[in-house]
């Protein structure tokens, strides 16, 4: 009963490539909240260096999908793999490979910028924090703010700090949940710069957003999620960018 998703495959399907395991793989993941099914059978397989953007209307289950991919939520059915390791809520080792930027910052308002990063750095067992923290802060243009309390930062600055926090441990797999929400143009530019920097061939990125322009700009793979499953997915090269908005509306309204 894994829904009527377009993208649905039995869990027993053999891996498509005989080479290395995909950097990020989801096999038939389903997530139910009691009577509500937020994710209704989604398969994802991303090789190292790929960038998947998932679009979709509010309530399509995009954040739940990201929660499942990050191991924050446990799938009701199906499995997620990072570099071939199955995500398990109690596990810790694979968490070193995953970085998450949510629409919440995961920051403590009463701690300074530097203290927040130091706290997370210690949780990740990083040893070179005195060097690493200033570097990351410089990446997001917050180099002069390390002693400011997070509660006093603007929304844009907090979002940039949240980005520095998500990337502090240099993860292979980066998951971004609506990162552009509420950002002013200059903060959005910094974010775009950092995200572009993530396309270094080593990292794998999944971003969920309803911002079509920013979403297409960086992606190698695109998907449109409607009511818990991928109603459409395709490669960036096969898409007529100018026509994507029309495609999006057609898919969301169920006319594709």
């Amino acid at each position: 009963m894994s829904g009527v998703g377009v993208a649905r495959a039995p869990a027993s399907e053999s891996p498509e490539s005989a080479t290395a395991a995909p950097a990020l793989e989801a096999r038939g993941i389903v997530r139910e909240y009691g009577p509500v099914t937020a994710v209704a059978g989604i398969d994802i397989s991303l090789q190292r260096g790929e960038f998947l953007t998932v679009f979709g209307p509010n309530g399509a289950g995009k954040s739940t999908l990201l929660g499942l991919l990050s191991g924050a939520l446990r799938p009701t059915r199906g499995d997620v793999f990072v570099n071939g390791t199955r995500l398990d809520f109690g596990g810790v080792d694979w968490r070193h490979d995953v970085g998450v930027l949510s629409h919440q910052g995961f920051l403590y308002a009463q701690l300074t910028v530097e203290e927040n990063l130091r706290f997370y750095g210690r949780l990740y067992g990083l040893r070179d924090l005195d060097r690493r923290i200033p570097e990351r802060l410089a990446d997001v243009n917050l180099g002069d703010r390390s002693n400011s309390f997070v509660g006093q930062l603007s929304h844009g600055m907090r979002q940039r700090l949240a980005l520095a926090r998500a990337l502090l441990h240099d993860p292979d797999v980066v998951l971004l949940d609506e990162p552009y929400t509420g950002l002013d143009p200059s903060a959005a530019a910094v974010l775009r710069g950092v995200l572009t920097g993530l396309k270094d061939g080593r990292r794998t990125v999944v971003m969920v957003t309803h911002n079509l322009g920013e979403g297409i700009a960086l992606a190698t793979q695109l998907a449109i999620q409607v009511r818990g499953h991928f109603a459409w997915k395709g490669s960036r090269e096969d898409v007529d960018v100018a026509d994507f908005e029309r495609l999006y509306h057609r898919v969301v309204e169920g006319r594709a």
Binding site: A72, V92, H96, F106, Y108, L111, F119, L123, R165
Partner: protein, 226 residues
Amino acid sequence: MSAYLGQIYAIVWKDLLLELRTRERVVAMGAFAVLSAVLFNYSIDRTAVRPQDIGAGLIWMTIVFGGLLGVGRTFHLESEDGAFRGVLMSPVPKDAIFLGKTLSNFVLLYVVSLLIVAVFMLFFGMEIGTSPAVLGLVLALGTLGFVALGTLFAAVSSGTRMGETLLPILLFPVLLPMIVAGAGATERLLAGRPVSEVVGNIRMLAAFVLMAVAAGAVLFRFVVED
């Protein structure tokens, strides 16, 4: 192992730093303790009952209610910007998160429990007895067991619609061993009885702490999972 301890330390450091900045919980618990002592004074007929006779019980009930104020807020600051989700997504074993939170709650409540004892002595002219170090140990074990179960059940209740209202309903029934052994030992120590009379109580408290910490460390991951 040292990485594990480092992660626990990071959580304790962060919690205590936050408490130092906001002073929310210590001030609330401390004020509660002093005000309770004042109200207790007017709730008993001091010509009929000597405060020394019921002091130990009042001290422990004040610790329980004051502690409830403190542990109930454990996950409050954490949820403001979703920070606790960030902690859960980090490679820290869930039992280390539990031990870190329990330890920082313990530091706060232990300080408050010493304050409570001091206030009762000051207000009611009670004597500390002949073994203040043993009394300190009894309070330490009692508060540690309390915060271990309190932290676990605070995580449970903060995940429900009822929130902190649920906490005493979950916590009080399982606190009985702590109250019996803790208040009993305190009463004898304050009365200047020899330490040998409270060895049994200390064993009971130690067993309670062991059960509470072990259960919390094992079960915490099932509570914080989403």
